[in-house]
Point group: C2
Chain length 284, copies 2
Amino acid sequence: MNIHFKNICIVGVGLMGGSFALALKAQGFKGKITGIGRTRKNLIKAKRLGVIDFYTTEYKAAVQNADLVLLATPVGWAEPIVRKIRQHLKKGAIVTDVGSVKSRIVKKIEPLMPKGMHFVGAHPIAGRECSGIECATAELYRNARCIITPGAHTDKKALKKVVQLWKAVGSKVVLMEPEKHDMIFAEVSHLPHVVAYALVNSIAKTENNILHHGGKGLRDMTRIALSSPELWRDICEHNRKNLLNSLRNFSSHVSHLTHLIQRSDWPGLENEFSKAKEARQILE
Amino acid sequence: MNIHFKNICIVGVGLMGGSFALALKAQGFKGKITGIGRTRKNLIKAKRLGVIDFYTTEYKAAVQNADLVLLATPVGWAEPIVRKIRQHLKKGAIVTDVGSVKSRIVKKIEPLMPKGMHFVGAHPIAGRECSGIECATAELYRNARCIITPGAHTDKKALKKVVQLWKAVGSKVVLMEPEKHDMIFAEVSHLPHVVAYALVNSIAKTENNILHHGGKGLRDMTRIALSSPELWRDICEHNRKNLLNSLRNFSSHVSHLTHLIQRSDWPGLENEFSKAKEARQILE
């Protein structure tokens, strides 16, 4: 394993942060992992489970010896946290994250980093509906893609180390510009989440317990509506403009199908269904 | 096993019809199963696989000795097929089906049945994205709900026999009025399918190969877009009015979330996400 870091600090020891720590340990990482988070109770549990070696609720104590800091919080917290930790960072420290939106984070955080310290944004495409330290697993990132989004000013050496780190936890690294990343993930991830939430609310409102009548199709289709509302509100906020474009585009497709049904244009409807089926077939 | 039929005819020997035959045989059914369908090639394959005992492409030969006829075709074919078979039905024969929309079928088919013969509509909540005889399995209906939809004039004895038949193939029978059935399934099944097709088309249109970037959430959410376009066009046609209501209701929920994002009302958005999460939690 090619890991250039000895002391790692994980900010937010939940599903993402905890799984990162467990994956490092499973790979034989010999350094120290310190966790910091909102609630001492969760940190105590993480230590008891062997996920982290130390914990603290003080930013200075958490980061002052860290060669690498992983921000594993909802995206909205990344910038405020960097504002709190930057004066305590060790010379040469590297900060990375797991946020699902990258453009704003890269733009806001890069200029905040003191000279000689670097931020390299990452978005591992991994998750479960279940959240919290109890759901963390060393396998979460195994064979998952991890999009790393260097900005115009990203340090090349820091980038290389962060790429190796994400490979070390088992993920397949893809490099992408932050703006391109956010446009693509508005479509393939943020839009589907908003649609799943809308679908559940729309169905649930019609009749008590109506969701019980659904089969496997409905369960599969609405599973992501179990995701954390706080996390997804933050993602929508951070990717607002792209997401609004995606939502408008989606709404016009729904309207189109609705109009075909309204006009009883059944060949036209079948044609749209066939196009979708064909496009979807590339996925598995 | 309590099956009141000796000769069973299955019209349409694909996933649904083939699985029905396999389930009967797995339960020790000793009678004869005759298959009829559009293509001789498929029927030959079904016989070779041991799914059916005989096959024919002539309606008269298929149904004249049958105590029970199962219509296992897309919903749009049920009525035209009944018009073709009714003069050949055996005295006392019972016809049932697997259609996903019930109100129109029950209304159209009941008056077509000759005196002493009966139609009892059924909708087994079972399916796979994979279709055709190759995907048929004796387990398809096991523990799946099967909605049976007696109309005002349904014969009580025929109803009882059809209920026992669907229980014999492993399903859990629920009785429901056809109109109520169609309203509920517009919401929990037909709407989600149309939304999945719209979602795939909407995403696929933005950029070549963009779907490849999606994770498990997108795959789960769009899996039902792999369903048969012909089958789902028919379902939309048969449940047009309910489905249009569901689509309008859904579109207004999407608009509501879009407006919250547009207005940057993040607490309002989180509140909607939380409502959806809570409603969805009852499902697993």
